[in-house]
Amino acid sequence: MIEVKNLNKSFDENQVLFDISGVFENGKCNMIIGASGSGKTVLMKSIIGLHRIDSGSIEYDGRNLPDMQMKEIRKLRREVGMLFQGSALFDSLTVMENVMYPLEMFSSETKAEMEKRAIFCLERVDLTNKAFDLFPSEISGGMQKRVAIARAIALNPKYLFCDEPNSGLDPKTALIIDKLIQEITQEYNITTIINSHDMNSVMEIGDYILFINKGRKAWEGNNKMIFNSDVQELNDFVFASELFKKVKEVNS
């Protein structure tokens, strides 16, 4: 579980996050949503520790990140997996080598055991051995996301962060990636935080949703409660499209 309390973050004079609090439980797909520029990426990067926060606390199962030294942060990060918006696979390594990378860096297993684990992770995300020796530039965007998920789960993380996991994907592939993240989250009881503004994902897998508006927490709940919200900013964001407006009408 990750618990954020009264988080404030500014860049020079410009404050971008105001007093954000939220509880991200394990085994659930926790989503941070908001319009572009609302501060959700800054919030996620602050939770991971890529940004130093001004005040507040970020507790990873009781361990407060802002109090940690760099060495401790690095140790904690070994329990973290992350899926980046652009996949962030290493160009110079093959699919297999990408998944092997965290294992070779931190695992004390033999090479054969590491390879077995990497193959297990790749097969878990439905990749066949035909793709194992290909380079990231030789595979599709959807496959790159799968490889990135496989790499993220290689070390059995306790926490999984996903930054816009569906960006650049067609709706069908996006849905498959969403389902995959949800399955992995539940299967391994991971604390997953997903940063997204894709409403299909939110409706599909959002067990806990934190809505950020202009750097402030404007609403929290789940994908069932979202239809009954009376927060104007949230309604403007969620029901921006005609399709979702109709869905709301039908629901209400």
């Binding site: 991971i48 890529l50 942060i73 690095r74 140790k75 904690l76 990060r77 070994r78 973290v80 997996g81 992350m82 980046f84 918006q85 652009g86 962030a88 696979l89 290493f90 160009d91 990378y101 965290p102 070779e104 860096m105 931190f106 070390l155 962060f161």
Partner: protein, 246 residues
């Protein structure tokens, strides 16, 4: 003020780079790749430039010192000392700053803007140490070989002028390049090249590591890396020459 900030940022980056690698195995896997990419891959350009400069130096020296009072071996001597003292260390390093520096800055810069460096950091790996240390050490290890190789090839260039033209005789040239030879000049050149290798690889890594934005910004980082490492090479050339030859 910005210059001071960058100097501090560079110093902090070097502090991150020169720490014990998380896994020596990974360092030793990267090291030969960098030796090949930064060192061995630079050999063709070193050969081409050195052989031509050696030949041109010989021709220019001979044509500009047409004086019966000067001994016949003076052309070889001037060619040798120019190659040993300045060309093969300083000028060659300025050329390599362009080739290797832009290579390092653009590679690391692209990794930065495509979030590959963030991915390494998120895994709990010291990204600066993992990416930069093998590059700096590999280039420092290879640079003396490149410099000595450049000296030898440059001298061969001059020899070819003697062989295929009537500007200078091979005998005069060979006498010149052996006359009053000071082995210390090679030591001086190697010391300079080690410092320059560190400057090129570390400055380029710095600009790549702190690149942000898009492809255009990686290009800017690459240009800044080449320009600033060239200026630093010239400054340290002056400093080391004063210290070692004065």
């Amino acid at each position: 003020m910005n210059y001071l900030y960058q100097t501090g940022q560079y110093a902090m980056l070097m502090h991150k780079v020169f720490t014990k690698p998380d896994r020596w195995k990974m360092f030793w896997r990267q090291f030969p790749k960098e030796v090949e990419k930064l060192g061995l891959a630079s050999l063709p350009i070193v050969i081409i430039i050195s052989i031509f400069i050696g030949a041109i130096l010989t021709i220019q020296t001979k044509l500009n010192t047409e004086n019966p009072l000067l001994p016949t071996y003076s052309t070889g001597l001037v060619t040798r000392d120019t190659l040993l003292l300045e060309f093969s260390s300083t000028i060659m390093c300025l050329i390599l700053a362009g080739k290797v520096g832009s290579n390092i800055a653009s590679e690391i810069g692209t990794m930065r803007i495509t979030e590959q460096i963030d991915a390494i950091e998120i895994m709990g790996v010291n990204s600066a140490n993992y990416l930069i240390l093998p590059k700096i050490t590999a280039f420092i290890v290879m640079m003396p070989f490149l410099v000595i190789f450049s000296m030898a090839i440059g001298l061969v260039g001059g020899y070819l002028v003697g062989m295929f033209s009537d500007i200078i005789t091979v005998a005069d040239y060979l006498l010149g390049i052996q006359y009053a030879f000071v082995p210390y000049y090679i030591f001086y050149s190697v010391v300079k090249s080690l410092v320059f290798a560190f400057i090129i690889s570390s400055v380029a890594s710095y600009y790549g590591y702190f690149a942000y934005g898009g492809a255009l910004d990686v290009g800017k980082a690459s240009t800044n890396a080449v320009v600033n490492s060239s200026i630093l090479i010239l400054f340290f050339n002056l400093l080391i020459t004063n210290l070692m030859l004065n």
